[in-house]
Amino acid sequence: MSETTTGRVPVTITVNGQPCTREIEPRLLLVEFLRRELGLTGTHIGCDTSFCGACTVILDGDAVKSCTLLAVQADGSEVITVEGLEGEEGLHPLQQAFSEHHGLQCGYCTPGMLMSSLALLAENPDPGIEEIRKRLGGNVCRCTGYQNIIRAVQAAARALREE
């Protein structure tokens, strides 16, 4: 796409393994693409200032804030959202651990927490508490006080290592 583009533009983004092609306005944010165009409302919008991390998804392997990215910037990329976590055998070990360790209360921040944790564990299967805190620093939770979230990530890391 080297030409000048006015109006709607075609983009193809592979979301949770499914290539999705849509004609969109360039100003559409990735989070709006996911929620409105694809109906994947698991990815949340928690702020207007790129602060909270509720919108975190995995883009080509990196955790990113989907509210701070245009969908056109993700054209040709692979995205994983919270809907992509659950497998044939049920909940992902991270989801299981968040549930068992009370890593959520209202659940608003949870999709973002899960995706940041997923990126962390892909990089380091055995992170210490300090590293978990650092890597979840861009995810705000107003309910849990974070302790149980950290416990949940540690438990999920153990479960994944034993798999």
């Binding site: 583009t5 006015t6 306005e25 602060f51 990113v64 701070t68 990215l69 620093g137």
Partner: protein, 298 residues
């Protein structure tokens, strides 16, 4: 939808991008990681007519850290720089890269975007001034290299001309027997810092200062540097009294705004303690110790 409408372009090469920017004129903006631009567009603090997406242009992502001349491509992300050989060779670079924002923003944001924004609270401008870095720019009239001090004209204002892009950041490897540290304070990872300090010291006999570079961030429209403050240290013993005098000299040149991150008085106090800590870490690193630096938050 949050941003106002704009046209979107994704040129394949640097030449195409420069030609487009020159043709589109002052309503157009380059788009790199989008981590400064997108928040601005979402709040409609800027309504460009066109965005020229440079993020996929090849040849601007390199982080070359072997020789004496260090070169970092404008599109290198904070996250990649943080784990690069340059960062392990020069801990002050690591201090800076790992302290920026949070993991998500670091994965997208670029060093070129950071210097081009010239946000007084951004970390790279302050840290790169400590290293006397240079900014390589390419535009319709060819390439030119601008010293970092001349590059920042005012808050959010750089020496970039219309159609010009930052292509590379360069600095010379600091000599053996020197060490630097970059320290900041912010209230949370995704917040911008309230105060930052970069210190680089060359040592002779382990205690006497050969050369000093002292720069404050978030303390005025541009990074704050003062030759007088540096001369409080050069040729002198690096004891606490001399360090305190240098801190007072440079802080007297600063003008931190009172805002949501703290009052001016609070920030001056913070600058002072960050300065003393950064100097201590720089001295220990110059002596070959491994010491942690970086931005602190609770």
């Amino acid at each position: 939808m949050y941003p106002a409408p704009f046209r979107y372009h994704r040129p394949a090469t640097l030449e195409d991008a420069m030609a487009l920017l020159a043709r589109l004129g002052d309503g157009a903006r380059p788009l790199a990681g989008g981590q400064s631009l997108l928040p601005i567009l979402k709040l409609r603090m800027d309504e460009p007519t066109d965005l020229v997406d440079i993020a996929r242009i090849p040849g601007m992502r390199h982080i070359d850290g072997q020789g004496e001349s260090i070169r970092i491509g404008a599109l290198a992300t904070h996250a990649r720089i943080a784990v690069s050989e340059v960062a392990s060779r020069f801990p002050i670079v690591q201090d800076c890269a790992t302290g920026i924002a949070d993991a998500q923003v670091r994965a997208r944001g670029t060093i070129g975007g950071s210097v081009s924004t010239a946000d007084p609270s951004c970390d790279w401008p302050t840290m790169l001034q400590v290293l006397d870095a240079e900014v390589a720019c390419r535009g319709p009239r060819g390439e030119r290299v601008v010293g970092i001090r001349d590059f920042f004209r005012d808050a959010y204002t750089t020496a970039l001309e219309e159609g010009e892009l930052v292509t590379e950041i360069r600095f010379r490897a600091p000599p053996a027997g020197s060490g630097g540290a970059y320290l900041g304070f912010k209230k949370a990872a995704p917040a911008y810092p309230a105060a930052t300090v970069g210190v680089h010291l060359g040592l002779a006999d382990g205690q006497v200062c050969r050369q000093a570079r002292l720069v404050l961030g978030c303390a005025g429209p541009r990074p704050v540097q003062s030759r007088e403050a540096e001369q409080e240290l050069e040729g002198k013993d690096l004891n606490r009294d001399n360090l305190r005098r240098a801190a007072e000299a440079i802080i007297s040149c600063s003008d931190p705004p009172s805002d949501s991150r703290g009052s001016a008085a609070f920030k001056r106090t913070m600058l002072h303690s960050l300065f003393m800590r950064a100097a201590e870490i720089a001295i220990r690193r110059a002596r070959g110790e491994t010491v942690k630096g970086g931005t602190l938050y609770v």
